[in-house]
Amino acid sequence: MKRYFRELSVAAALVLLLLLLALFAPHFYELQPLLSRLTAQIPTLVLTLGIALVMLTRQIDISVGSQFGLCAVLAGLVSAGGHGLPVSLAAALGAGAFMGALNGCLVAWMRLPSIVVTLATMVTWAEVLRLFQQGKFVNLAPGVQWFGLSQLGGQLTLLGVGGALVALAAYLLKNTSGGRHVYAVGSDAEAARLSGINPSAVTFGVFVLMGTLAGLAAVLNLVQSPQVDPKCGTGLELKAIAAAVVGGVAVNGGRGSLWGALAGLLLLATINPALTFLHVEAYWEKAIQGLVILLAVIADGIRSRRNLN
């Protein structure tokens, strides 16, 4: 209980918000719009999982939005070229893994600071995409949207995939040696190394996984519309980082959980529509989101200071 206090308090805030909505804005719970809002968050959720892992190893990856955009356009072009969804998916995953491996090499083996490395790759991939695509949308082959199912079927599939992924990743993180190594490296890389763990390999692995998840997220986004917007990844890295931070993943590594990150994402994603439904002026949306993130960071600051004493 005490160990998961941080996660549970975010979940409690979310439940409180949902109760408020149930009392004052029951329209929020109309099935179809609710489902659409949820499925729209699935790609961000996948990115958030990756970012949480990166942050647990005491790194950061701000290039995920650019990776996402590039993978999305690539998958779209493959699909437009007449290949099926599995081929598109493979292309997106491969491209993501490649971009992640590049970040990983520079950070883990060449020991460059991840904020700078991923800032550079963020700009690079975004510019590559802009030059190559010139802002044009990609039209997808029919049968890609909603996996070729009905809209409801597609949305349910997406929710299933997202839920299964969180559960699987959280389970693996808690129950495998690799998962434990992620925490060990993030807490104290030198102590981990002196225990026979290879911190560079762990860091590299996490960045590759991040890239692969960005590819998967891009495909899970692409199936929700008939076209791919080459700007679809813009700003997603901030959403994912914010969700992880609000969910209690420590920016300086070693602390946090994927369930917490999920709760953080749901809380942030609920605030916007909630404000609309509760008739708060739209101007306040961003400010209130910022305030929530600030609160989370302050809570973590107090917590880590208390742990020091």
Partner: protein, 503 residues
């Protein structure tokens, strides 16, 4: 009667439910070295923080220079002439020595101009006064721990404080730097300042202190004069230890074991340019404790790092159980049956936020969890086993490493390596900063391990420990192995002179 510099009476301080100080009385006179002694957790650190204004006491009175002071802050304490040298140097690693000294000593307004020449001159003078051969322009990052400690001492000296508190100043110093420090302490005493001296090393207290106050469980148990007016010793080591622990300590070091077995580790002309060591040849046998003595910077830790594959050897032969091996990484060292308990347990030993059972299982994942899936019962059982075997004081295997005292953290670090069932265990200053009680327990554990057939290579800067524990003693100087002694024939003088002799 002279006015005391400090007078504390019945000071109490609680943190939540923990009563750290339950009534401490203490006096410091001008021209006195007053030692403060107690096991870890006895309340020494809290007491210092009360004197330096870092903590506010809950009750009792604090007088500085004869006037009662309340609401003391660190800034005010400094103005009242109190300076403190902490165990861990608190310097800015990216700034140079002279900048560090300048920042500490020059008050200066926000826009005050920095007189670089003056600053440099000051630093030079202070360093010369304590006899430290340091270039004031070197960045602190590139200094060793003992050198950083010297900078701290220079700062305290430069502040012209009337009351100087030294919290285990020799924990990381070698004999040479210790002598420098002792000189500084005696100078301070002669100039009429008072020194509060905290150390676990009893021989230092006998060498330096005029009076001793023993703390136990947050209370001042007794204040005793070390010497009479005529200079005769008034106190024995046994008396002091029994005051500290409240019981008699049987014998300080465990008896040496029987005859050693097969050769576990053999080095021939091992060199490593990165670690600055050359031509090391030595052997450690099963059941044997080989003490590795030498000054800080003599290459002892570097040798350990070579053996553990952190900075692999460039040339030479390393044989483990008669087989030639190359140790290229810590992972490989672990699989070869080498365990390494590093020097700086706070930074590289125990992962503080992790539960102790997880800390202990870190190096044995492949063995404890075949197939990569964690098995929490097995991990818990491992934790419970070592808590019992090593007598670790913790509320359970799920207690975070950071909640344990220094001695118990060291046992956790030790347990991590015992879990790997190593053939060779390398210990780097295993009892540094550990209190007397835990220290003798760790000594007993190490001796038991050797008796069970482990080969132990023990680096230590604590000379009595090396002499008391080792079956054989190898001495390093300037990156080379200069002499080896049989444990029974070695004396402090012979080991020290081998470590010091100019090459």
């Amino acid at each position: 009667m002279r006015q005391p510099l400090l007078r504390l009476s019945q000071i109490t301080k609680s943190f939540g439910a923990v009563r750290a100080l339950k009534g401490v009385s203490f006096e410091l006179h001008p021209g006195e070295v007053h030692a403060l002694l107690g096991e870890n957790g006895a309340g020494k650190s809290t007491l210092i923080k009360v004197i330096t204004g870092a903590h506010q006491p809950d009750g009792g009175t604090l007088e500085i220079g004869g006037t009662t002071v309340s609401n003391l802050t660190p800034t005010r304490a400094r103005k009242l002439g109190i300076a403190c040298i902490y165990q861990q140097p608190a310097l800015f690693p990216d700034l140079s020595v002279s900048e560090n000294i300048g920042l500490r000593l020059e008050g200066g307004a926000f826009f005050a101009k920095v007189h670089w020449k003056q600053r440099r001159k000051n630093a030079d003078a202070l360093l010369a006064r304590i006899g430290a051969a340091l270039d004031p322009e070197t960045p602190v990052r590139s200094l060793s721990m003992p050198e950083q400690q010297l900078v701290e001492i220079a700062c305290a000296l430069g502040s012209g404080a009337k009351t100087v508190i030294m919290d285990e100043p020799t924990a990381s110093l070698t004999q040479v730097e210790q002598e420098l420090l002792f000189g500084v302490v005696r100078d301070l005493r002669a100039s009429g300042a008072g020194v509060v001296y905290i150390s676990h090393r009893l021989e230092e207290i006998f060498a330096l202190a005029d009076r001793v106050t023993v703390l136990r469980d947050g209370q001042s148990i007794s204040t005793r004069a070390v010497r009479s007016e005529l200079g005769a010793m008034e106190l024995t080591e046994e008396e002091l230890i029994s005051l500290m622990v409240g019981r008699e300590v049987a014998s300080i070091y465990p008896h040496r074991g029987g005859s050693p077995g097969e050769t576990v580790l053999e080095l021939e002309n091992v060199c490593c340019a990165a670690g600055g060591i050359a031509n090391i040849s030595l052997a450690v046998r099963a059941g044997e404790i080989l003490g590795l003595a030498g000054l800080v910077g003599a290459g002892r830790t570097e040798l350990a790092r070579v053996l553990f594959g952190i900075t692999p050897a460039d040339s030479g032969t390393i044989r483990l159980l008669g087989r030639n091996v190359q140790v290229r990484s810590p992972q490989q060292a672990v699989s070869l049956g080498i365990g390494y308990v590093p020097e700086d347990r706070r930074r590289h030993g125990v992962i503080l936020p992790m539960p102790i059972a997880e800390n202990m299982s870190m190096a044995v994942h492949p063995k404890l969890f075949p197939g990569k899936w964690l098995r929490f019962e097995a991990e818990r059982a491992l934790g419970l086993r070592f808590i019992e075997e090593l007598g670790i004081k913790a509320y359970g295997p799920e207690a975070p490493g950071g909640s344990l005292s220094g001695g118990n953290q060291q046992k956790v670090s030790l347990a991590r390596w015992l879990a790997t069932e190593p053939r060779l265990l390398i210990l780097d200053d295993p009892t540094q900063g550990v209190d007397v009680g835990a220290k003798s327990e760790i000594h007993r554990i190490i001796r038991d391990l050797a008796a069970k057939g482990l080969a132990v290579l023990m680096i230590s800067s604590d000379l009595p420990e090396v002499l008391g524990m080792s079956d054989r003693i190898a001495v390093m100087r300037g990156g080379r192995l200069v002499e080896t002694f049989e444990g029974s024939t070695a004396t402090a003088q012979r080991v020290m002179s081998a470590a010091l002799r100019p090459s």
